[in-house]
Symmetry: C2
Subunit: 99 residues, 2 copies
């Protein structure tokens, strides 16, 4: 099972994630980001690619979609906080949004 990130691991990961507009919410220990696309089709295309990666990782986002906007929350429920899986999924989401 994935282990909650240590302070050192967070310190190493967060600058790049913050630079990519991921915000950390300490209350729930989650990462949040809003992705914006030109249309529903574009948003859906990205979500579909992410869905396949999430299923491969066996790690799934909390996410909501309204037309071209997708709000994402990442956390690992089993660990009650952030794990390496969340970092992997966050980076994958960013890579897929770059196309």
């Amino acid at each position: 099972m994935a282990k909650k990130l240590t302070e050192d691991e967070r310190a190493a990961a967060m600058p790049a994630l913050n630079a990519a507009s991921w915000a950390h919410e300490p209350e729930r220990d989650v990462l949040k980001k809003t992705f914006r696309f030109k249309s529903f089709v574009r948003a859906w295309g990205w979500m579909s690619a992410v869905a396949l990666e999430a299923e491969k990782l066996n790690h799934h986002p909390e996410w909501s979609n309204v037309y071209g906007t997708v709000e994402v929350t990442l956390t690992t429920h089993d660990a009650s906080g952030l794990t390496e899986l969340d970092l992997k999924l966050a980076r994958k989401m960013d890579a897929l949004a770059r196309g």
Copy 2:
């Protein structure tokens, strides 16, 4: 442009929608329902089918997904409330969930 439903149209539509577990929230004039599936793959399969229908209708849901659960909110932003498009999409979602 779709017109907001009249009182008569609502009275005709709501019993069947309520029976199918759609709830009306009068503050925002929206329909809400939570769909539950056995897995992310099942939830995603249903969402993908709905996405194609939504795009065909050019009418899109507000929805959020966590693993096998999908919370749906339907309303027509242009009309500031429910229209025939919301009824169509609600019925289509139910039909697709039945398989």
